[in-house]
């Protein structure tokens, strides 16, 4: 009955939108970038660097502004205006340029300090002399946009290249060799080489997809977390509401408290598994569509469902116990954060675990039963793999913890569902779990 209604269908669609909204937003932003031209003034106190910076920026304009395949403009173009330096009134000159930025005549202005070409060693200090030297070495990007603006990063590359070229030419290096000398070295991620068992030939290494290497494991973990959260959260208020409506008092004549609790838990698990089929099928379809299905080994699917079942049982039982101890659905809402802590903390920990999946800390965290489903699954989804014994130990620990929690929750549920009046304290819940 709980899946044959509009609410279930709507939640099935909205859950991934809400959880993946950030990435959706990023995709939408990338589809419609801000490509307005950027007019930048250069105040070059070295009197040498500006032409090199402008030349480097124009090379960027040619390379990165238009999509080579579609010809569509994907990034803004940069246009420069060299402003003569007024050595008598530097502050007044900066103010005038700032006002031009405010009037939107300019996007920003770049001030290249007099010592930017040869800055020497870094100077720290709050004394006036140190501050003066720091100002002379500085290349400042003055704008209204935030420090996170990507314009600063793009222009920074051009400034870096321009200044290095100016230095090399000062040293007498042949201009034709500049590209070779300044070319950056990009380290590409490659897969390991293997021999094809069937043909005996050595298969060529393939270049790894960085986005997929990050996105796929994270998505697997996030998918599990999303299904568990959407499955367990409604239990909390549902049980509290049933308790407030005294539904359990009549049902206790027909079923034991444990049967009542497990009935609700099993229903929640069934609902979540139904929605998981849609999400897993959809994700698999997307993986095949992107030709990266090979990044998710087939062996991961049964592990996904094993962890999903264990985590759902764990959290739904906890939700039932917490819901039974509340006096109203409003009280239950306040306990939602307690309920979802085992899901939220792995989200905070996923980056360090992904970057060092086999470190002692990552291993220990993924073997901690409340975190095991999400973190162990994340580690298993990473290309480097983990020792074979760890998922089994993790699953065993999770199941043992789940059985214990379900048993404790049933004892709390039995006492709490008939308690009316003030909400019990944590010590009461522990006592009920122990004494029943």
């Amino acid at each position: 009955m709980s899946i044959r209604n509009k609410t279930f269908i709507i939640s099935l669609i909205m859950a991934p939108v809400l959880f993946g909204g950030g990435f959706l937003g990023l995709a939408l932003m990338n589809a419609r970038p801000d490509i307005a031209d950027r007019h930048v003034a250069i105040l070059d106190r070295t009197s040498l660097v500006a032409p090199f910076v402008i030349a480097a920026a124009e090379e960027t304009n040619k390379k990165d502004v238009f999509n080579k395949k579609t010809g569509k403009q994907e990034n803004p173009r940069y246009f420069f205006e060299t402003v003569p330096v007024d050595p008598q009134s530097p502050d007044a000159q900066r103010l005038a340029l700032s006002d031009r930025v405010r009037r939107r005549e300019l996007f920003a202005f770049l001030e290249i300090g007099a010592d930017a070409l040869h800055p020497g060693e870094e100077v720290d200090g709050d004394d006036p002399a140190s501050k003066t030297r720091a100002a002379a070495r500085r290349v400042g990007f003055y704008s209204n946009s935030s420090a996170m603006s990507d314009v600063r990063y793009r222009l920074g590359d051009a400034v870096d290249t321009g200044v290095r070229r100016a230095r090399l030419l000062q040293l007498g290096v042949d201009q034709s060799k500049l590209h070779d000398l300044l070319g950056s070295v990009k380290v590409e991620p490659m897969s390991l080489v293997a021999r094809d068992d069937a043909t005996g030939k050595i298969a060529a290494a393939v270049k790894k997809n960085e986005a997929a290497d990050f996105g796929v494991p994270f998505t697997v973990m996030a998918l599990l977390g999303m299904i568990v959260m959407t499955g367990a959260s409604p239990m909390l208020s549902s049980v509290a509401e049933d308790k407030g409506n005294r539904v359990f008092e009549l049902l206790l004549g027909s079923a034991t408290p444990f049967e009542l609790m497990m009935g609700k838990v099993i229903a929640a698990i069934g609902r979540s598994l139904t929605s998981s089929l849609f999400y897993v099928a959809g994700a698999t379809f997307v993986l095949y569509g992107l030709a990266i299905a090979g990044l998710v080994p087939l062996t991961l699917y049964p592990w996904f469902y094993a962890y999903l079942l264990a985590d759902l049982l764990f959290l739904c039982s906890l939700a039932a116990a917490l819901g039974a101890s509340c006096g109203s659905p409003q009280d239950a809402q306040q306990l939602a954060i307690v309920l979802l802590t085992p899901v939220l903390i792995p989200y905070f920990l996923f980056m360090p675990v992904m970057t060092q999946p086999n470190s002692g800390l990552s291993t220990a965290l993924s073997l901690f039963p409340p975190f095991t489903p999400m973190l162990m699954l994340l580690r298993q989804a990473l290309p480097q793999g983990i020792p074979a014994w760890q998922p089994w130990v993790g699953l065993a620990g999770t199941l043992a913890c789940t059985v214990f929690l379900t048993w404790s929750a049933a004892r709390i549920f039995r006492v709490a569902i008939l308690m009316q009046g003030k909400t019990p304290k944590a010590a009461d819940l522990v006592r009920w779990a122990i004494r029943g």
Binding site: N245, R246, F248, E249, L251, L252, G253, S254, A255, E259
Partner: protein
């Protein structure tokens, strides 16, 4: 004679050592520091209607829940239909709670069939339809519970309890919220079930229900048994210390030997002290007023209840 206020009368039922529907032996149940039920022993014979009475918070519901197996006693034993009470649900015992707890979004027929199938593991469509018709709810079968009145909800809840045809029926204030017609319907249904062999335990605050329906009456006060027996035996304990008087001018003068006067409107109920001769009282009344009616009787259950659990009982105990 000992103070009748807190004397537990030996239940005649205990004379019959076989065929007990419920046997409670030295049961205690506490919640925190409060002893909801304190060293209670009780026997309910099979096929009887056993009335539980007592003030609010005295332990009636806790006792009923322990018999149903919802609560476990802290000490003592409870046997129901010859079996010790465990956590397992029993198909032959039904419990109607005091509060209405129906799933509000379900239709009545579907809800009752759900409860029936939950208990008996079989379809109960026919039985549900019959009960709905019997209690005048045939028209409400397809209505949602949230659309029902308080009395109709109570009847639906009653049907959910009796559809499985239990051998022991425990009803916590079954007449609560019912108009006289509905109350009669429930009463007739309960008595019909008793005739077919079902044992009924019911709690009520309506003393006339206890007096007319119940074979035995058990009163609990602050967790302890204070009365247990037939109405006759209970009243016999107090003797004929009650006089019902009607006067033409309606004002009872001061009279010696009268401990308490209860004004019932057209009739005044006098409780007389031990040793007071009703004939002397009648002579004193006639001398001062015109007497319309004068009868010597035993105290009503209502009166006994007040004597035990009313504020005056506090004064007696303190004294």
């Amino acid at each position: 004679m000992s103070n009748p206020v807190l004397t537990a009368i030996t239940s005649p039922a205990e004379e019959f050592l076989s065929n007990h529907a419920v046997e409670i032996s030295a049961v205690t149940k506490t919640f925190g520091d409060v002893a909801a039920v304190d060293n209670l022993s009780l026997v309910v014979p099979e096929g009887s209607v056993y009335g539980f009475i007592g003030p609010n918070g005295s332990g009636k519901t806790t006792t009923m829940r322990m018999i149903s197996g919802i609560f476990y006693p802290d000490s003592g034993d409870i046997r129901v239909l010859g079996q010790p009470v465990t956590g397992a649900r029993r198909d032959d015992v039904s419990y109607l709670p005091e509060e209405r707890g129906l799933m509000r979004k379900m239709q009545v027929q579907a809800l009752l069939e759900f409860h029936g199938e939950l208990r008996g593991g079989r379809k109960v469509t026919k039985e549900v339809s019959e009960w709905l018709a019997r209690l005048g709810l045939g028209h409400a079968a397809t209505k949602k519970v949230e659309a029902l009145s308080k009395g109709m909800s109570q009847k639906v809840q009653f049907i959910a309890t009796v559809v499985p045809q239990p051998k022991l029926l425990i009803l916590d204030e079954p007449f609560s919220g019912l108009d006289p017609v509905s109350a009669d319907q429930i009463r007739d249904a309960v008595l019909d079930m008793r005739r077919t062999g079902t044992t009924v335990i019911l709690s009520t605050h309506d003393m006339s229900v206890a007096e007319t329906m119940c074979d035995y009456i058990f009163m609990i006060f602050r967790g302890r048994k204070v009365l247990d027996g037939t109405l006759d035996a209970i009243q016999e304990q107090y003797g004929n210390d009650t006089i019902r008087v009607s006067l033409e001018d309606g004002v009872i003068p001061d009279l010696p030997g009268v401990e308490k006067i209860r004004d019932l409107g057209q009739v005044q109920e006098l409780r007389i002290a031990r040793g007071c001769d009703p004939q002397e009282l009648l002579r004193a009344l006639v001398a001062q007023a015109r007497v319309s009616s004068f009868s010597v009787t035993r105290p009503s259950l209502h009166d006994i209840f007040i004597r035990i659990a009313g504020p005056a009982a506090e004064e007696v105990k303190v004294a």
